[in-house]
């Protein structure tokens, strides 16, 4: 029974990855490249010690984006606004960090909390519009992402909140003082962010709250059926709003590791596209904190390993295509598996019923 359950849980992501490998192989064959040696190249390069730390650091960010998306999914919210939430959050966190000089035990929490609050605040605009105005969070978040970009670029101009870095032309926020730097762990010749601990804690808390607490039950119930949750005494609209804000708060943490341990400021070099990645990882990992962790590492691994392809005459964008295919294949195979499971369950219930009906019919005929 247990083995069967594991089989049904894993079949979809495995199928998705296999489908995307096949798809990419076909493209590679068009390019007259050998798929097997290409994948081998990716793997051997990705697992080089020097790359593993970078991959783990990237995993932290992806993981947080994935959990932010997963919380949204639990409420049937499609938080495509992670992008805007994370960039606005990290921007303001860096600004606050760069303009305060507190001891470490205050400075670091201050930066982290600022990021969470800004992320939550920006997300709650979409939450408010969803609850009060019945506007799809997908649409409002797409708009909010663009607005966030505009605000950041505006504020990042020299003379406003940004400066031109001493060594580059990139616009950036002022550097955070040393007391706001988070230590790193040296390993494999790289520097691993200690912010990873926060990410792990977020995953654990996410799991406990969702599965073990009344609040988590209310959240899941509202996601499963808004009306049933409302009738059961949950303030369902408020629940939707809160979930959006929490998702935004965690999205706010996404870039904090990099900022505290490496860049020590915010600049336009911070990547875009975390929303889509986060959503993909939550889908791939089925909103399960461990599943999302594996998915996040896989993603980070692929992207770190991709540039090696260029050196071998294969455009590294093939990895982007692979990611897109994985998303589509994952969702499609989950949908198929879901339907198979549903049919199986109905059959089970049906057989339990027929025996009953038959016994009833015989009873009636006896009378």
């Amino acid at each position: 029974m247990k083995a069967k359950k594991i089989f049904w849980t894993l079949i979809a992501p495995v199928a998705a990855i296999v489908i995307s490998f096949i798809f990419v192989s076909i493209i590679l064959l068009f390019k007259h490249a050998n798929p097997f040696s290409t994948f081998q190249l990716i793997f051997s390069y990705g697992f080089q010690p020097g790359n593993i730390v970078a991959e783990l650091n990237q995993t932290i960010a992806y993981y947080l984006a994935g959990i932010a998306a997963a919380i949204g999914f639990k409420m049937l919210l499609f938080n495509i606004g992670i992008d805007g939430q994370y960039r606005l959050a990290i921007f303001f966190a860096a600004v606050v960090g760069g303009s305060t000089h507190l001891p470490s035990f205050l400075e670091i929490p201050l930066i982290v909390i600022t990021a969470m609050v800004v992320g939550a605040a920006w997300a709650s605009i979409a939450g408010y519009l969803k609850v009060k105005k019945n506007i799809s969070e997908v649409i409002s978040n797409i708009m909010l992402n663009a607005i966030a970009s505009g605000i950041i670029i505006y504020l990042l101009q020299p003379g406003r909140l940004g400066t031109k870095g001493p060594h580059s032309d990139n616009l950036a926020t002022p550097t955070i003082p040393k007391s706001g730097w988070m230590p790193t762990i040296s390993m494999f010749g790289g520097q691993l962010y200690t912010f990873g601990i926060v990410a792990i804690a977020v995953g654990v808390i996410y799991w406990i709250i969702l599965n073990k607490t009344v609040f988590g039950f209310n959240l899941r119930a509202t996601g499963l059926s808004f009306r049933a949750a409302r009738a059961s005494g949950v303030n369902a609209p408020r629940m939707v709003f809160i979930t959006m804000a929490i998702s935004g708060a965690i999205a706010g943490l996404t870039g904090v590791g990099e900022c505290l341990s490496e860049t020590h400021n915010y600049s336009l070099a911070f990547p875009e596209g975390y929303a889509l990645t986060g959503l993909a990882l939550a889908l791939l990992g089925r909103n399960n904190p461990i599943g999302v962790a594996f998915a996040a590492f896989f993603w980070a691994f692929l992207e770190r390993a991709a540039p090696i392809l260029d050196l071998n005459g294969i455009p590294n964008e093939i990895v982007l295509m692979m990611e897109g295919t994985i998303i589509l294949a994952t969702v499609a195979s989950y949908e198929v598996v879901k339907r198979i499971n549903k049919r199986q369950q109905q059959k089970l219930v049906g057989s339990a019923q027929i025996t009953n009906v038959e016994s009833k019919v015989t009873k009636e005929s006896a009378v």
């Binding site: 607490t213 009344v214 409302r230 005494g233 019923q353 027929i354």
Partner: protein
């Protein structure tokens, strides 16, 4: 007179349920033929078979004397059989004309809609049958009665000679029912045949030329209205003796579990839905709330549960002012709620049964302690409900959606009665459930009353109201129009009161 439709020995089995067996119906041309039966008696399945939406396992259908193979609604339409669904198949965001012609558009060059021709054809139908609809109106602007006429026009537009109307009066107010009946008479005068599905005896006696009664999936008899009466029809429908004898009368306790004083409530558009409602329920009594659907019952229930707040007036549920307390508090204070739409309001369809046990009790012991859920307690208590209420399920970890309607309802009733509720709201508790489940649910409601709970039984089922209630409050267009004593009231009197005749 010739027989336009003849159904012989129709049988249809679903996994777990025999929906139809030994069904025989024959309908004469130009008549209104009523098919009556309780909810779950198999009327809807039969009509779906006739309209090609469901394939029968065996039996034959003859139309105008010829055996017909009806595999899809299109086949049915081609044979002149049209269906007016209970839930309208219309689009708000389109005009009446567009709704009517969809799928059978008159065109120029095979593609361009000939609006002029379409309008002429619709207007000729409107004139011929006195249907009173404006083809240019936007459907979203129209009331229920007009929408139903649009549905009828849609069927006539396709040249139907036989119209099936599935519970057409369920959503109508009495005035609209009268209009509908006038329209139907007009149609039969023009040679059309109507199959009228209902469980409302008054209406059927009033409108039908002939009546076929169904019970537990089969047709039991065929009678003419002039040869029968309501009592007899009811007996045919229920099968002689009623499943549960009326409980012994007991005296209600002095304590009030529900108090409603001068309650008014308006919907979002400002329409007055409840008008000056006054209703008290004491511990240890079952008060039936009788009324045609859509007369304010759902809103009344939502007010009692604190899901909406009164515009003015006072509602107190088990001593809590609902305007000042959340639904959560009201529930935790000892109010059980069996919602009318069990699948949407009562269950998390894609969660396990034991998680559904927690629903509504997530903040009370033993389902939770402080911030933490108690999974073990939920699972144990689910097992108890499954056993005590005879819920047919392979395990408590299957999703609620996998269960049949009756079993879902038994589980809900079990859940809502598990915490010694002081007040129970049961909205249409036995609608669409099989007779066995009905008996179990009724027994438990009576038992709860004996233990001192007050019960508000919202029902459109007269038998249920008479069987269970100590008093019956009648609601009509948002007002409580009177209280009746079921011991010395006839179903006719109650039926009359429900149509607002006393007003």
């Amino acid at each position: 007179m010739s027989k336009v439709i003849e159904l012989k020995d129709i049988e249809k089995k679903y996994p777990g349920v025999v929906a139809n067996h030994g069904v025989n119906v024959s309908v004469e041309k130009g008549t209104i033929h009523a098919i009556i039966g309780e909810n779950g008696a198999g009327k809807s399945t039969l009509m779906k078979i006739l309209y090609g939406m469901v394939k029968p396992d065996s039996g034959t259908i003859s139309i105008n004397g010829e055996v017909a193979k009806i595999k899809s609604p299109q086949d049915a339409i081609a044979l002149g059989v049209g269906m007016v669904h209970q839930h309208f198949m219309l689009a708000d965001n389109a005009s009446v004309l567009e709704n009517i012609i969809l799928g059978s558009e008159p065109t120029n060059f095979g593609a361009v809609i000939d609006f002029k021709k379409a309008k002429e054809k619709i207007l000729s139908i409107v004139d011929n049958y006195g249907l009173q609809i404006d083809p240019d109106a936007t459907l979203g602007d129209l009331g229920v009665g007009v929408r139903q006429r649009v549905e009828i026009a849609k069927v006539l537009y396709r040249g139907a000679q036989i119209l099936i109307l599935d519970e057409p009066t369920a959503v109508l107010v009495p005035q609209e029912v009268e209009d509908l009946f006038k329209n139907l008479k007009e149609l039969t005068r023009n040679g059309l045949t109507i199959i009228f599905i209902s469980h409302k005896l008054d209406e059927v006696l009033n409108i039908a030329d002939e009546i076929t009664v169904m019970r537990q999936g089969t047709t039991v008899t065929r009678v003419l209205p002039k040869d029968t009466n309501k009592k007899q029809l009811a007996e045919y429908m229920i099968g002689g003796a009623l499943p549960t004898p009326r409980p012994a009368d007991t005296k209600p306790l002095p304590e009030k579990v529900l108090e409603m004083k001068n309650v008014f409530w308006n919907d979002r558009t400002g329409r007055e839905v409840l008008h000056d409602v006054n209703l008290d329920i004491h511990a240890g009594e079952i008060v039936g709330l009788a009324g045609v659907e859509g007369n304010g019952q759902s809103e009344l229930v939502e007010l009692i549960m604190g899901l909406v707040k009164p515009a003015s007036g006072f509602v107190s549920t088990v001593g809590l002012d609902t305007a000042k307390n959340t639904t959560r508090k009201i529930r935790d204070n000892g109010t059980g709620y069996i919602p009318q739409d069990r699948q949407r309001d009562g269950l998390l369809m894609s969660a396990s049964l034991w998680e559904n046990r927690i629903l509504g009790h997530q903040e009370t012991e033993p389902m939770s302690k402080g911030l933490w859920l108690n999974k073990k307690a939920a699972q144990n208590d689910s097992q108890r409900i499954v056993k005590e209420f005879d819920v047919r399920t392979p395990s408590i970890s299957v999703h609620a959606s996998a269960l049949s309607g009756g079993n879902q309802q038994k589980f809900i009733v079990g859940r809502e009665m598990s915490s010694e509720a002081k007040m129970i709201i049961a909205a249409q508790p036995t609608r669409g459930v099989d007779v066995g489940a009905q008996a179990i649910i009724w027994d438990h409601l009576i038992e709860a009353r004996l233990k001192g709970a007050g019960v508000l039984l919202v029902s459109a089922d007269l038998d249920e109201l008479f069987q269970l209630s100590d008093r019956i409050a009648v609601i009509f267009s948002g007002q409580i129009v009177g209280f009746l004593d079921p011991r010395n009231t006839t179903p006719e009197e109650l039926g009359l009161a429900m149509t607002g005749a006393n007003k």
